[in-house]
């Protein structure tokens, strides 16, 4: 179990292309925003919280097809499926590895990018808390989407089409937490709801992902 996690983590760190890419995308996204919206700091600070959430979500989305695709191509997935480790646990671990290599760096980078977008100081704790509570849900839901489309060649675009509607509740509640925090309001309720979505998704979706993997491996 730990072996699979360690393997995924070291692959992401050493094999290149996976680990830093989502972060770089996040940075570029934030850098492009003022070109589209205009550089007025007042306007930027109004929308900064929502933009950071949107950027984190898109960065997460971009790295999803790597979760199972490479393992599928070189046959590792068959070995994982025939190993004594249940496939449900394997897909849960895959989601955890994805979060550790994508979600957590995004959370760490968000405050710095928040400074660039002139995010109000009161919003920083809420932003970090909401990203910490919400990004695991993005990884878990994304793992399910990746499991659905693993057998499809060039399934990246389809994966986005399937996963984005599933991301809606997480995005709404997470961004709401950060936005309310930016307005100086108490955002405990949406934060708890975001955490609730993460917990619910983490409890249920590994089973759905495992079911989809079994169909694809048949």
């Amino acid at each position: 179990m730990m072996g699979l996690l360690k393997r995924d983590l070291s692959l992401a760190l050493r094999a290149g292309g996976g680990f830093g890419l989502a972060l770089a995308f996040f940075l570029i996204f934030v850098a492009l925003v003022p070109f589209g919206i205009g550089p007025e700091t007042g306007r930027l600070s109004d929308i900064a919280a929502g933009l950071l959430w949107l950027g984190a979500l898109l960065a997460c989305l971009l790295s999803l097809d790597r979760i199972f695709q490479l393992d599928w191509e070189d046959g590792t997935l068959d070995l994982i499926a025939t190993s004594p480790l249940p496939l449900e646990a394997a897909s849960g671990l895959k989601a955890l590895a994805h979060w550790l290599t994508t979600g957590l760096p995004l959370v760490a980078a968000a405050p710095v990018l928040g400074l660039m977008l002139n995010l109000p100081p009161a919003a920083f704790p809420w932003l970090i808390a909401s990203l910490l509570a919400g990004t695991p849900a993005l990884s878990v839901i994304g793992t399910f989407g990746a499991a659905l489309t693993v057998g499809i060649k060039r399934g990246g675009l389809l994966l986005s089409l399937l996963v984005l509607p599933l991301y809606v509740p997480t995005l709404i509640l997470g961004a709401l937490t950060a936005t309310r925090g930016a307005q100086g309001l108490d955002a405990t309720t949406p934060l708890l709801l975001t955490a609730g979505i993460t917990l619910g998704a983490a409890a249920v979706l590994p089973f759905a992902a495992a079911a989809a993997l079994r169909v694809n491996l048949r």
């Binding site: 399910f144 659905l148 489309t149 057998g151 499809i152 399934g155 389809l158 089409l161 399937l162 984005l164 509607p165 599933l166 809606v168 509740p169 709404i172 509640l173 709401l176 949406p190 709801l193 979505i197 249920v204 979706l205 759905a208 079911a211 989809a212 169909v215 694809n216 048949r218």
Partner: protein, 248 residues
């Protein structure tokens, strides 16, 4: 004792649905024409909304059927997952484009209605937004069917997507209510239980033609799904024949 599971046999399904289909289609045409003509030409204009109120005869039935089509897909997917009846999986596949078009009709007529009433074509209101998301779910579901060659695999994966998607669509609905106060009015027409539970929202003059039109949309949906399921079964048979030919 005839049970519904008899129709899991494609041959029986084809025989019965072939016999029923013309009747369903006829009822759909009659009640659609009846309801719409009654609604459009023989009801008074609304006190405040004027003639635009007549959009209700298309908007409300389309919206109700758009949601019910997804529910039907959910039930059909569950039947496929649990009992593995191919007709059920094909019925779910057949219902998706019909439901998508109903969703589109509801969104479009809503925009046309919203422009004179609210002064805007589109508003990020929970009800409007959840229909947009429902539309995206339909698109994803259909795209997944198209993307996979093996029909059984496609049926399995789309069924899983439909189950998970239903849960998330429901969560989205409530998250959206939490997110933004709505402009759209609440539920004023309800058809829960036996008959019609009348509610104070819609006056009788408008309600009766609306019910006829709703029945028209429901039968139209049934007719289209039966027709499309028959097409899917035939397409499957043709595929099997071609495969046999190749083997021989």
């Amino acid at each position: 004792m005839v049970s519904i599971w008899e129709y899991a046999n494609p041959r029986r399904f084809m025989a019965t649905s072939g016999a029923v289909l013309p009747w369903v289609a006829a009822i759909a045409a009659l009640s659609l024409i009846g309801g719409l003509v009654w609604g459009f030409f023989f009801t008074p204009d609304d006190f405040r909304q004027g003639a635009t109120v007549k959009i209700i005869y298309v908007h409300v039935p389309a919206a109700i059927m758009a949601v019910n089509a997804w529910l039907m897909m959910l039930v059909a997917s569950l039947i496929w997952v649990i009992r593995r009846h191919h007709v059920s999986a094909l019925a779910a596949k057949a219902a998706a484009p019909v439901g998508m078009i109903f969703t589109l009709i509801a969104l479009f007529t809503g925009a046309v209605w919203g422009q004179p009433m609210w002064g805007t074509w589109w508003e990020w209101d929970p009800r409007l937004t959840s229909f947009l998301i429902l539309f995206l779910f339909y698109l994803g579901y259909m795209a997944l069917w198209e993307a996979i060659d093996n029909p059984d695999q496609a049926a399995d994966l789309t069924a899983v997507l439909c189950l998970v998607g239903s849960v998330f669509a429901l969560i989205s609905r409530y998250a959206l209510v939490f997110w933004n106060q709505g402009l759209h009015q609440g539920t004023t027409v309800s058809t829960v239980g036996v008959g019609v539970a009348r509610n104070e929202g819609v006056a009788d003059v408008f309600l009766y033609p609306l019910m006829v039109s709703l029945a028209g949309f429901a039968f139209l949906f049934l007719a289209l799904v039966l027709y499309r399921t028959r097409t899917e079964i035939r397409a499957r048979r043709v595929k099997a024949l071609i495969a046999q030919e190749r083997m021989a």
